[in-house]
Amino acid sequence: MATESEELESLVNRRYEHGFVTDIEMDTLPPGLNEDVIRAISARKNEPEFMLEWRLKAYRMWLQMREPEWAHVHYPPIDFDAISYFAAPKSDADRPKSLDEVDPKLLETYDKLGIPLHERARLAGVAVDAVFDSVSVATTFKEKLSEAGVIFCSFSEAVENHPELVRKYLGSVVPQRDNYYAALNSAVFSDGSFVYVPKGVRCPMELSTYFRINSANTGQFERTLIIADEGSYVSYLEGCTAPMRDENQLHAAVVELVALKDAEIKYSTVQNWYPGDEEGKGGIYNFVTKRGDCRGANSKISWTQVETGSAITWKYPSCILRGDNSVGEFYSVAVANNFQQADTGTKMIHIGKNTSSTIVSKGISAGKAQNAYRGLVKVMPQADGARNHTQCDSLLIGKECGAHTFPYMEIKNQGAKVEHEATTSKISADQLFYCRQRGLSEEDAVNMIVNGFCKEVFNELPMEFAVEAQALLNVSLEGAVG
């Protein structure tokens, strides 16, 4: 008689599908970090003086800082001198002006990832900015967007073409000294995406970026900045993946969102960085700072994330609810399997009056994985009428995994209404047998039950990506019972 737990544990054997390495010439800086490296990065990107100064300032701050130790994750110390801080495909010397000019091998890579740019270009409504290692490779739909006045380009192009916007908003949400990894990113970030939606404009399509780490021993430090001017709306999706490697790779991104008066930003992430193998070897360290600033009255920022990858995830997309009546939302599915460690959650900082926030976190742990939710709800004294609702649900598959919930609350206004609900459940043998008795395979049954558990979050994803997220979840838990 196979016990429930034995069965469930054997279900947890998944193959990573995106583990191929693209063989193209790379222009890589030698490993190590010092001021010269930063100058070299800045020079290669032909940056204006203010950018170099900004980077150097961040670097000097970083030198004074220490790696955080409080997250519920464990990893050997990172040797920051063993990492190379810049890798661009060689063909970067003359940047591709259109898709036709992109290295075909690179396009092939995207094909393997299931992101055929040409295909996507034809699919109505999705613009894709693809970041390959450090440099943004191709941005589609730029023209259609620029008709609407929307700027959607790589960060480097923004520095070149819209320096005034970059200067005004860069670091205004996540300052250089915010935390250890944010400071490092500020010093060495190579590229990323930039979005500006002008006043009153509803962005005519979903914007989307795919990230992929390719070179060995390369850190990826991308920087995303999205500004929604008054009364505008934009929905943005990032998808991430990386090849299989035995060494761990570092990914330390910073995302800054600014929503001005009456503006709304919807930011969705489907993250599938390589998680390491069944023994816990290799995988991405995903240390990311994501923060949105509801700067104007009646503004709204929603984070939706589906995190299935990375060896270690350390990530807390946050909202600063500064404008009166502003709204922050966080919907998250985090899957941790085998030896993955996920420490993720959100921060909602209520400053304006009548601000409200909603947190829905779904954590799934399988194998030997540890999954922690860490959330902070902070209500400032002046934030009259602040409301928060937090719901944290954990689902365990097997016996050796763990789920941890760390809700922090700092309430400085007596009138605030803050609610917290938490549940932990298991996929029961009864549920599995019930589904199998109706003819479903064990694997389909597990997928169905897990998808049901995540439903509230998937409902928040744009349609075409909800399907992708579900498929990804199924891959992540492939073999988790059976």
């Binding site: 589904c435 199998r436 008795q437 109706r438 479903l440 395979s441 439903k455």
Partner: protein, 250 residues
């Protein structure tokens, strides 16, 4: 159709079914009655393939095919349906989604294409009307927050959609109000056909007023201790089980 020969099964080290034999012919309806804890649900679950139960002897065949060799899902696709005594809740999973997945699993097994979404909905609505079920149940989570009676009706809906060869209904009548009982009986009777066999596990003669069984068996202490026609049910209603237990022991 269903042939059970000298079946013994145990759970957690304790033998629950002892050398049990039972034969259900094609097109027949059998009722199994018996005291609490006598092994009725155990028998139903063993037939459906729940692996918490260890079969220590005997055989179970469906139209000559050995069921004990098959996984639960394979048995289901072969047309074995179990209406659960305690249907489980699956939060967030759309009732219609499970229903469709079940129908498609069976169709795939028979080499048929997936059912067309429109066709599926039409069929589901038809069956629900037959059972007096509100269509809103299609979009609720599987059994999520359903009342006891609603869960039982939902089991019958699944059965009606799957049109099994062999349906085993484990106390589907328990917890039903009189209208629901009639609706469920109606659903079962609608499925009665010369190609299909039905096994009703029940405690109450009442159900058998609506669904006339061809045979009635009494399961006690892990064996069939008495079989008869439907008058046996009436007799049990009057006399209880003690006289049979004594007879079996003596």
């Amino acid at each position: 159709m269903l042939d059970i020969k000298n079946l013994s099964a145990s759970v957690g080290g304790a033998e629950i079914l002892h050398d049990l034999s039972l034969s259900v012919g094609t097109g027949e309806v059998h009722a199994i009655m018996g005291p609490n804890g006598s092994g009725k649900s155990t028998l139903a679950q063993v037939i459906a393939g729940r692996d918490d139960y260890e079969v220590t002897g005997g055989s179970v065949t469906l139209d000559g095919e050995d069921l004990l060799d098959l996984d639960p899902e394979e048995r289901a696709r072969e047309g074995v349906f179990l209406g659960f005594q305690y249907p489980v809740e699956i939060p967030g999973v759309n009732n219609a989604y499970l229903l469709k997945a079940a129908v498609n699993a069976q169709r795939a097994h028979r080499g048929l294409d997936e059912i067309d979404a429109f066709e599926f909905l039409k069929l589901a609505k038809e069956k629900m009307a037959l059972l007096g079920m509100d269509q809103k149940f299609l979009n609720r989570g599987v059994n999520e927050g359903f009342s006891g009676g609603e869960k039982k009706r939902n089991e019958i809906l699944q059965m009606a959609m799957l049109e099994p060869r062999l349906a085993i209904l484990d106390e589907t009548d328990s917890g039903l109000d009189i209208d629901a009982l009639k609706a469920v009986a109606h659903g079962v009777n609608a499925l009665r056909s010369p190609e299909r066999s039905i096994v009703l596990v029940t405690h109450y003669q009442r159900l058998l007023d609506y669904i006339q069984p061809d045979h009635v068996h009494v399961l006690s202490g892990g064996k069939i201790v008495r079989s008869g026609d439907k008058t046996l049910a009436t007799e049990l209603e009057e006399r209880g089980y003690d006289w049979l237990k004594e007879a079996a022991n003596g």
